[in-house]
Amino acid sequence: MQIYLPIAEIPVDVLFVLGASLAVGFISGMFGIGGGFLMTPILIFIGVPTAVAVASEAPQIAASAFTGALAYWRRRAIDLKLGLVLLAGGVAGSGLGVWFFNAMRNAGQLDAVIAVAYVVLLGAIGGLMLVESIRSILRRGEPPKPKRPAGGRGLADRLPLKLRFRRSMIYVSAIPLVGLGAFVGFVGAVLGIGGGFLLVPALVYVFRVPTAVVVGTSLFQILVTMLASTMMHAVTNGSVDILLATLLMIGGAVGSQFGVRVGQKLPGEQLRLLLALLLLAVGARFLHQLAAAPDERFSVSITERGR
């Protein structure tokens, strides 16, 4: 069943889009990630213009982040103060990201920038997670070692503007947190992803935020950043396809419910191992796209649209 997308200006197969968003929703529910890094490339692959794919994926990520954030809110597992500090950077970052996105598109380098970013980010995070999860699977049974370095004072601890986050039980400078938020917001706007796979490890490993609050806080930050990103893409480019976004939201919401159930049955380190392999696989696909000789070296794009 074909349906014509009013902004993307192409017909797409409704069942394919719903099926893909269901599958990505399942994976995102299983691993507690947004799934944007999977869905955006799929949309580009079926012919949706990159700008429309990235912009229409943002409201879907926001919707699924909102569902998750509500659940964590009920369990009081969101550090609002930490979330707001991250957001201060996040909104600025995504504004910069939308600007960068448009500049790269005009220069004809958008697809290459996106591919390089995917290779670097997915490769780095996937690699780190792979090593970490294999280690913890091998070490299973042994008592976990205390992770917090005794009295270790890194650069981040010496920065000014220290804030106390009671729910997260951390006392750190606001500067690296705002910087982290800005980086995630920037990357999210450029790549059409929520950035949960960047934010969660950073908060856990760098800032030592307890796992219990990290996911909820990350979802809160992703929710607001993606809502802002939706607004900015709509206002600056008019590239949000509300019909496409609706299809993605339906599939994503249903799929993630089943994913969550499967995810809860799997042990954490196995889940992280699977996610690491998934990240590396997607990264490898983009590396292949960059490194392999293309079938068609030429491409055509519309420079100025006389609307």
């Binding site: 009013p6 008019g238 949000v240 420079t303």
Partner: protein, 255 residues
């Protein structure tokens, strides 16, 4: 003497009726893109007439029907390898070329008229592509020709450009028709059709008509809102996302 007689004979002979105008009509003046749009077709019907309006035979003539969609500036880029990566390195801009282009004719274009006239009249895909790059009526050189050929190839692959040397069909001796195929990804806007009646490589009559490709009510309203009332459209999308997120949370609540 014989030559003079021949000349007088030619002058005195009754002038054969000559086609010097084209009458055109379309199967539809408007193609509507609704949510189930999967491509369409517009058929052009035409006849040649003389100065008095009487229908004339087109059997001894060539016909070329060119349909142009909205003009755009198109950028063609070429990837090349650098530091192991394939990146867009060079490109050309083609100004004011139709994003949709359909050229139907009764014979192959290079048999109908010569290169120079094809370039001047923008007849055929190659002539249009080259015309977007430069107005010089000489063959493109080096890289320009490569990009021009790439533009034609890519647009043809996307079914947006098409050249059919048997696309104009003559019915009987004086009527002709041509079917213009619109692919699913057809751009919307005003389309112009130009029909040329040609003989010995020279255009003897032309006719023109237009049709419109428009979005259907719902699609048009969505696209219009996204373009003109951007903030409200963005806010509506945001509200929809929150509604969906909340609904999913209520429907699938497990705690």
């Amino acid at each position: 003497m014989r030559a003079a007689l021949l000349l007088i004979g030619l002058v005195l002979a009754p002038a054969p009726a000559r086609a010097d105008g084209l009458l055109l009509t379309l199967s539809t003046p408007k193609v509507v893109i609704a949510s189930n749009f999967q491509g369409g077709e517009v058929t052009l019907f035409g006849a040649a007439v003389d100065a008095s309006g009487a229908v004339q035979s087109v059997e001894d003539y060539d016909l070329v029907v060119t349909t142009r969609g909205p003009a755009e500036t198109l950028t063609v880029r070429e990837k090349s390898r650098s530091h192991g990566l394939w990146l867009n390195r060079s490109g050309r801009e083609f100004r004011e070329v139709p994003y949709f282009l359909n050229v139907l004719s009764s014979r192959p274009l290079d048999e109908i008229t010569d290169f120079q006239r094809r370039r001047e009249g923008g007849l055929g895909l190659d002539a249009v592509a080259a015309g977007g790059l430069s107005n010089a009526l000489t063959p493109l050189k080096g890289d320009d020709a490569k990009f021009s050929a790439a533009l034609r190839r890519l647009q043809e692959r996307r079914l947006l450009w098409r050249e059919d040397a048997s696309g104009v069909e003559v019915i009987g001796s004086s009527l002709f028709k041509g079917a213009i195929t619109l692919p699913p990804n057809v751009p919307f806007g005003d389309f112009s059709i130009e029909a040329r009646l040609m003989r010995a490589g020279v255009t003897v009559a032309t006719g023109a008509t237009t049709f419109r490709v428009a979005k259907d009510g719902f699609e048009a309203r969505v696209a219009g809102l996204a373009e003109t009332n951007r903030a409200a459209y963005g806010a509506a999308t945001v509200a929809l996302a929150l509604l969906f997120g909340w609904l999913a949370s209520v429907m699938f609540r497990r705690d």
